[in-house]
């Protein structure tokens, strides 16, 4: 293909991501002239219409930002509100919220590995096609996904936009019989998840090492999910309220989702970033299983994020089982509280990475203003940076279809949730 020839290709839609986006790529004389991840998911203006709503409405509304990670949104907000109101719901509530959050990690990661990412490695367009050749692989994914969903529903009645959380605790504690049945399923799934880690290591994972900064919450006593301090692979260690002093949100023309930089540079959030920072906090059996694969973390290869997800599924199942093993029904699933006015800063680890919220709350507990920074908007800059390097590494002289597939795979490594960030990928390649 002559590089002098001007070619314009329009490949409509990146499939297997959550939402609508496109990629503009212009190549001139064998160099990348322009590379833009375009996100055109229509803005829904959530931050605006939360204003004036009470604390329970807030929990029910923020869930609707994302159908795939509603628990993350609810947990972040509920925890922040409780800190502001000075209410401590106690260890039972904290543990059970961690279990519910594990449910979301399990379902979201399983969906991503099997339905969204795996077809790439076998040359199929969808998990339905993959299932014709490898039914057991897809069934395993669907089983784990269902397990995660059922874990969420045990506390929230349904897995998409659950209804069980309230400021002070839960509306209802699960019945011991339901918990017992769940523990049996989790026990069976621990082995399945351990095997999944090995299966992911066995995928044809490209070698592609890049320099980037990993950012995640860190907690002194546990692999952080629910709360912690913001840490990075280059020494950042700040409380969540100082986010704005180090991270900058800005708008770019090609996206309805804000970009975020850390001290002027793109950075990574998500499973790989978490594993890079907090691997040592994984429970012994999860670490041992990972050691057996011979794959080491920290890793600077984004393609290993699929392994990181499998490790986190293994961890989340193990953790949920641990926390549920001595389950008892509390006297009350929630504690009383009085709303207070003030500013809320809160963050938690959504399946796709750190999710940061801030709210101004009035003395009736109503929202005066809201600011929400989802993981995918934080990863946009890193995705663009990665694409530039990965496409060069792949070789720009490659056929458009090869470039497109590679670009899609790079983007899928981040499991972008564009509904969240505000979502399809079109690839426009212009060669001049």
């Amino acid at each position: 293909m002559s590089q002098q020839r001007e070619i314009k290709i329009n490949v409509p839609v990146l499939a297997r991501v959550e939402g609508e986006g496109a990629l503009d790529l212009a190549i001139r004389d064998g160099c990348i002239e322009e590379l833009k991840l375009r996100i055109y998911e229509p803005p829904r203006l959530f931050e605006k219409f939360l204003e004036g709503h009470g604390h329970q409405d807030l929990l029910d509304m923020v869930a609707r930002i994302c159908g795939i990670c509603p628990v993350a949104y609810q947990m972040t907000a509920v925890h922040g509100l409780e800190e502001l109101f000075g209410v401590d719901p106690g260890p039972w509530v904290r543990d059970m919220r961690r279990v519910m959050y594990c449910g979301e990690w399990i379902q979201s990661h399983s969906l991503h590995i099997h339905l969204l990412a795996a077809p790439d490695f076998f040359g199929y367009n969808s998990a339905m096609e993959l299932a014709r050749e490898y039914p057991a692989v897809v069934r395993r994914g669907l089983m784990l996904q269902t397990l995660g969903n059922d874990l969420i529903a045990m506390f929230g009645a349904r897995s998409v936009h659950p209804v069980g959380l309230r400021v002070g605790g839960f509306f209802k504690a699960p019945d011991p019989e339901a918990v017992e049945a769940m523990c049996q399923r989790l026990e069976e799934a621990v082995t399945v998840a351990a095997d999944l880690v090995h299966w992911c290591v066995g995928l044809k994972i490209p070698e592609n090492n890049q320099q980037f900064t990993s950012v995640a919450l860190r907690h002194p006593d546990e692999y952080a999910i629910y709360d912690g301090r913001i840490g990075s692979s280059v020494g950042l260690d700040i409380p969540v309220e100082e986010f704005g002093q180090h991270f900058q949100e800005f708008q770019v023309p090609q996206s309805t989702a804000f970009h975020t930089h850390l001290n002027g540079r793109p950075y990574l959030v998500g499973p790989l970033a978490r594993l890079n920072l907090s691997k040592w906090q994984l429970p012994e059996p999860v670490l041992e299983n990972l050691e057996l694969t011979g794959v080491h973390f920290p890793s600077s290869n984004m393609f290993r994020s699929v392994i990181a997800r499998a490790v986190e599924i293994h961890f989340a199942i193990y953790e949920a089982l641990r926390l549920l093993s001595e389950y008892r029904v509390p006297e009350s699933p929630a504690v009383e509280f009085e709303p207070k006015a003030g500013t809320v800063y809160c963050a938690s680890e959504a399946p796709r990475g750190m999710l940061w919220h801030s709210y101004g709350i009035d003395d009736e507990g109503k929202v005066r203003w809201a600011q929400i920074v989802p993981p995918t908007s934080q990863n946009q800059g890193r995705i663009e940076e990665d694409l530039g390097q990965s496409l060069l590494h792949c070789g720009l002289e490659q056929e458009d279809d090869v470039l497109r597939l590679h670009a899609e795979q790079v983007i899928r490594n981040y499991d972008p949730c564009i509904s969240c960030a505000t979502h399809f990928l079109k690839l426009d390649v212009t060669r001049r």
Binding site: K48, R64, C66, G67, A127, V252
Partner: protein, 256 residues
Amino acid sequence: MSEQARPKVAVHKFSSCDGCQLALLNMGDDLLALSQLVDIVHFAEAGPVDEEQEVDIALVEGSISTPEDIERINGIRQRSKYLISIGACATSGGLQALRNMADTDNWVRSVYPRPDYLSVLDQSSPIADLVQVDLELWGCPVNSGQVIAALRDLLSGVTPRVDVQPVCMECKRQGVVCVMVSRNEPCMGQITRAGCGALCPSHGRGCYACYGPAEQVNSRAVSEHFIEIEVPVEEIRVKFGSINSNAPAFKRARDS
């Protein structure tokens, strides 16, 4: 069934949280069974991408909120024999239709420093405002049972029926103690469409109307009762003006 005889299905997304597509992706093994019964030609989140194909059944998630959406939905309607709108966004305009009551320009300006980069309509509209819809599945989110039931009916050549009774009927059938009678908990279940399985009342909280209005909405009686149990008027308005604020029955109630 031969490859050619399988009905073609497409799943489309407009402005939404993707949660209703999960009614399909969260089906477990049924998803594989479905993929053998029908030919899923377009479902971007699951992989197949071919929006231009003519299909027998189109499932549409999301509300219409940009100028481009209008053109797209008209095309989809032309190419689809039977169109089902799924979820609150597609049936009522969704939570984002709260902006229909506000000055959208002003809202965009206060969220985005460069509003000129965006193109959005003043209104977030349900699909049926733009094109003819053959079946509406309400709910935020719709569940797998609703979607499977509708597809099963269509595949068997039966016109799908949807439950338009209120959530109260589901509580009665399940033997759930009424949260309003027993605890004075304001509950929208009396005027909210069944389909969820009375999840909130069975968890001890009042229904918040995520399934939209039932067939007969006596909003006046409900509001009067809420006032009796000392729910502030402003909060009663919010109860009608939330996820399905743009549904006509709720809109009237809120404005009255």
